[in-house]
Symmetry: C5
Subunit: 356 residues, 5 copies
């Protein structure tokens, strides 16, 4: 299940340096390139990382290098060496359990975010780490292999069709567009969770049962999980907006401010979901207690009515030789009558006490 706090020991840098095999394994990862300016566009896919290198010094254009498989360590290493990326940055790309963060290096920024997608079939949340490197004329994005697809197709479409002016602006605007897409996707997740919460809350008081409890617990874990992804993201985007003026233009910063607002909105919603889920659990507990109460009342009413009656008929089942009532002509009917009266009084009493 994706929404569990899975923890792998982060691939240690030392291990990496010490154990890195000099492998020459065939590089079959999908590297896709978008290389564009306002007028022209070039789109390619290839396996040889060396083909990327030619774009490095094209200053007037924007290059988006999208690597689809972070397990291709040699490929990523070659790329990073060619572009002058720091060794620690490479390590962070490879280990999939980073916290969203922003690191500043000499002439590039390194950003890690979590892309969350909702798996409608399994009804759970998939998390995939996306690492971005932003240089003056390029954006690199690194995705984990084993996850299918991404949420960037809209951006690709806009670049191809030159819609939305994306091709007028630089690499920083591209980075904004990519992160914005990821954040927008959070809202879809939250909407799904919101639906499940509303779905559940109607039935929680009327029909509290263990399967509800399980659902509630799962929702809670998912909210904790999203929270862990979004809180650090806020900090990342905030830094992005405030600093790094050499890489990010003022024009783009206005847009990043907008993503920041969205992130805060996600956090607000996550926090109120937490509140609501906590209330729901309390409500659940109270509902169970209510139910038990009503069960107990039924038991008590039944016992209180029939125990005295059983005692009475027990009395006249005794075999004493001298029991005058037994010889009365209407003794039997009197006893039945007494039983009826007792039942009636008891029932009235319980009705008055609102137990019935």
């Amino acid at each position: 299940m994706e929404n569990k706090p899975h923890l792998q020991q982060p691939f240690s840098f030392q291990d990496y340096q010490d154990n890195f095999p000099d492998s020459t394994k065939n590089l079959d990862a999908d590297i896709s390139i978008f290389h564009y300016d306002e007028a022209t566009i070039e789109e390619k896919k290839f396996n040889e990382v060396e083909e990327c290198f030619i774009y490095k010094d094209k200053d007037k254009t924007v290059t988006w290098i999208d690597v689809d498989d972070t397990s291709q360590i040699p490929l990523i290493q070659k790329l990073s060496q060619n572009y002058g990326l720091h060794a620690l940055l490479v390590e962070d790309i490879i280990c999939a359990d980073q916290r969203p963060k922003l690191d500043e290096y000499n002439n590039h920024l390194f950003i890690v975010v979590k892309m969350l997608t909702y798996d409608n079939e399994k009804q759970n949340i998939n998390s995939e780490q996306i690492s971005f490197v932003l240089g003056s004329n390029y954006v690199m994005s690194f995705q984990e292999l084993d996850k299918k697809g991404d949420v960037f197709d809209k951006v690709r479409e806009r670049i191809r069709n030159s819609k939305g002016k994306i091709r007028k602006y630089g690499a920083d605007y591209l980075l904004y567009a990519l992160i914005d897409t990821i954040v927008d996707n959070y809202f879809i997740i939250l909407e799904k969770i919101g639906e499940r919460i509303e779905d559940m809350e109607g039935r929680l008081i009327t029909d509290p049962n263990p399967s509800k409890l399980r659902d509630l617990y799962r929702l809670k874990r998912e909210v904790i999980f999203i929270r862990k992804s979004v809180w650090p993201l806020r900090e990342v985007i905030n830094k992005l907006e405030r600093d790094y003026s050499e890489l990010i233009t003022d024009h783009t910063k206005i847009y990043i401010k907008d993503v920041y607002d969205h992130t805060v909105q996600v956090i607000d919603t996550v926090e109120s979901y937490r509140d609501i889920l906590a209330s729901m659990l309390d409500i659940y507990l109270s509902s169970i207690s209510n139910k038990m109460n009503s069960v107990m009342k039924v038991l008590t009413v039944i016992s209180t009515i029939f125990m005295p009656l059983t005692f009475i008929v027990g009395v006249y089942g005794m075999n004493f030789q001298n029991m005058p009532e037994l010889k009365w002509k209407y003794g039997y009917f009197i006893v039945l009558g007494v039983c009826g009266v007792i039942s009636f009084l008891m029932l009235s009493f319980f009705r008055k006490k609102r137990w019935l």
Copy 2:
């Protein structure tokens, strides 16, 4: 229900830019204009947005442009182009699920707040997003279409009648008056909720039942909902008071400080409602446990008295041939007496234990 955390995916800016149809749909929205200075006043309603444009350069007067339907995208776009508003701002006006916020642009401020009104019929809270744009000589306000009416009638009346000196001051004072009206309305909401809390709390201990639980849960959600609207508002008004001296005069800032104090007061009250509601749920749980306890006591008392008695009469219902007591003349009455004594002892015991 309005007071649920409804979440629509925010209308993405990209979508907006990409998909915006070049529609020439008939503009039938209500745009209403107040255009005044201390001496003169002009009030109009129209559908053609172009009629607004003439007020743009009138520096000595104040113009209040009130747009009643944020779904009229082309109208809003034309207006914003004419007044030089940023595209992101337009996007925020259109999407109704913004968080209260304040954005600064070159020569105007953009403010989003939530107008809350209490629907007395449905007993719930309606939320409507109001976006303000403050320029040096104008205030624009944008309201969602599908909501009925607003809370600004008092302000309109004061402008018309030149009461309260509102016409002596500039656009910043008008903005203050509008926001103040919205914040004042929060108190009405809180008062309603306060009444419902007081209403409920008397009956919570004496008569805990599932319908109380449902009311409690609804109150809790409403408080979470208000909280989500008010906390960011505080920040917005605080910023408004501290910065932006070119658009807001010192004279108005004193008034904004006053709105700020009111907002903090709303927050204080919301927080203490949260506290009180949390206590009430605990109290509710305790009350149910108390009730169950008393039900259990009744059951136990009844069982403890009648089980031994039923056993005794059972003994003398046995058919052994040799049971000397059966032949005693007063055997029957002795048994009845013993039963009476046992009942009496049991009752005394339970009275001593305070179970009765």
Copy 3:
């Protein structure tokens, strides 16, 4: 009940400006004046606000103007006009539901605090808003009408008798003395609540019952109420100590620092009361569960002993023709013996399990 979160919609400034009647209603409020310096003292009471005006320009002396009825709007307005107070300040004096706060105006400070008194009869807390205006040579204090008396008599006595050097110092020291008296009164309230907590906690484990629950809930609400008054007060006094050097001498600031320490101490105590009350509710819940547990044990013990016995005697109450035991001479006594043995074994078993 005073300790409920009562919320009136704040008297809006607009309303005030618009609706203020030009009333010439007879001014029968008690205005009392203390006008003193180290050598001389003058004490007066009157109804005509104009009599205050002569003190305005006496720079060498201190004037304390104490207005006892904030519903006398015209009176307060005249006074404020004469002394040049801001209109918003007047509004805040009139509305009794301000949050404690400090506002700075040109040449005077405006301070709102909550005076809490304990009503021994009704066993609850009364809250009254006191507004202070501090000028260079005067202190004004405004009290709500409908509340009886105040806590300032000690201060009055000291001024009259020239005790404690109060007449040596300026208006700022007088303000200190008044606020100090109010804060000292908080300790009396806390002491009362502390007593009620200690009172209750002994009996909570031994005798948990719904009336305890009600008391607990009331205490909780009172603590929430005090908290709401004290937290903002801390901020107010802190500001008073740090800033405003033109109105408050360094000599007085040392004393204000002392009031600040007391306020923090009140907050500390309130917070630990909150903690303790939360623990007490948990304890209460646990105690009820404990009690229910012991009730259940009694029921179970009784049932477990008598159900098998009743079954056994039921067996020998059957009317089968062929039941050899019925003819045994000592059958009856054997059965009685068996019943005794079973009871004994059961009791031993429950004793071993510590249910008895």
Copy 4:
């Protein structure tokens, strides 16, 4: 009980100034003096405060004036007048319910801390307020009267024996040594509480009973009490380390930093105790529920087995004339067999359900 939040209204400064009796009561308090430099040492005890005054101007030596009874108001007043201490400081010394704090005066510092000691007999915590005044060449310490002894004997020993270089350094180092001793004592308290927690936690799940609940509640209150003493102390020591360079040498500051670390460690431990105690209460509640569950199961098993059996034998206790089974030869034994089979099936069912 010492560990209750006892609150006396702080002895108001006004009261003090107004009501201070011109008493000439015999001064029989223990004042003890240590007066030393690296080479010489003088130790005295006396009752006449005037004897202290000679040490005031000895700049090269350190004087420690230890006053053992803060109820000796005239004594303390004379001392403070001679040494030029502020009147508010004297008030704070006299009132035993100060919060730990540090006040700065012209040429001396005033420090209030809480000395906590563990009373092994009564198993509770005693709190005593110690006030320190640090001048350039003296330290004064003021202890409450009614408490027995202090924790300073080690420091006295070191001064006498010139151990640990304490006599090489100034008054600031002496102050450090005294505070350090007090903080070290906190660890003893925490150790005791830690032992009681460990003691309790083993038995909490196996044997939850009301006396455990009482212990738990007492522990909780003690932790709240310590917390209230330690949090403000941290701030005090932090200030001491950062500021006041004229009174405290850099050499001593390194040592004060060390005390600061210890204080933070105490806070950490207190906070984790709070966490653990909260968990323990939850565990307690769960354990009780567990127990009740097992009691209920016994009841249910017994009822479920014997109710059907009792019904069956009741059937054959009926007196109908036409009941063929009664005449069967083995009817009685068949019924007994049926009862046995039913019991067996029920028991198997409950075993399968893990109720037994």
Copy 5:
């Protein structure tokens, strides 16, 4: 058990100075030395601390002095005197209950961290205090005696084999490598705990029983314990990264930033574990209530069916002379039929109510 909050009174500095015996006990502790630069390496173990002294002034190389037994007070004291370490630092090394911290001295830094290891056998966490001293050309590490082994073998291997360029850099990089190893080990611990959480959570709803409760409580304590070690570590590493530029090169700071990120990640995970464990306890309580509910239902169903039936057969067990039904030919069978019908109706009723 290691994961309990064990608290020893910190070895007081005074005690240390006063009581330190002039012992000349045989120094048999393992001191191991790594002394290297890029080209050469020297590895030694010895007992005479004096052998370390020769490395003190070798500026071009890095020396790692690893002391394995902090109870060897004289050894540590000699070492510290030779290297000019502060006396308080020595005290902190000796007392094993420090909080992770960083102290700055003239030309060296002192760092305390907690090494956590997971004991697979006992299923608990071992904690060992490691103290580091960083000078310009050396790192000292001090480990507690009674704990077996450490986690530094990887680092030793890398130094020996000159892997990972560790020998190219200075003492600061060595310190980084050591701390990084410790932090990496935290992830192993968290992974173990994560596994145990996942393990437990499946069975919590289906089979809540007291042993689960015990496990839950242990997990909670372990998480509190880790938390106490990691929060202060974060601060330590943060300081290390920001300040102290004279001892730590910019090159190493990038790596320390990386350790910082890992620490924050550990904290994030610990906090979400806390959240999850809190939820699990709530779930546990709810599950028990659910179970009790179902037990109660069984009891109520059984009682409700058999009590009326037992009453009916009791009626016909009475010995009245005039009971017409007894003489009916099919009376017996009619009664049996009535009993069957009643049972059937009851069962249908309970099925409808979903109690079965």
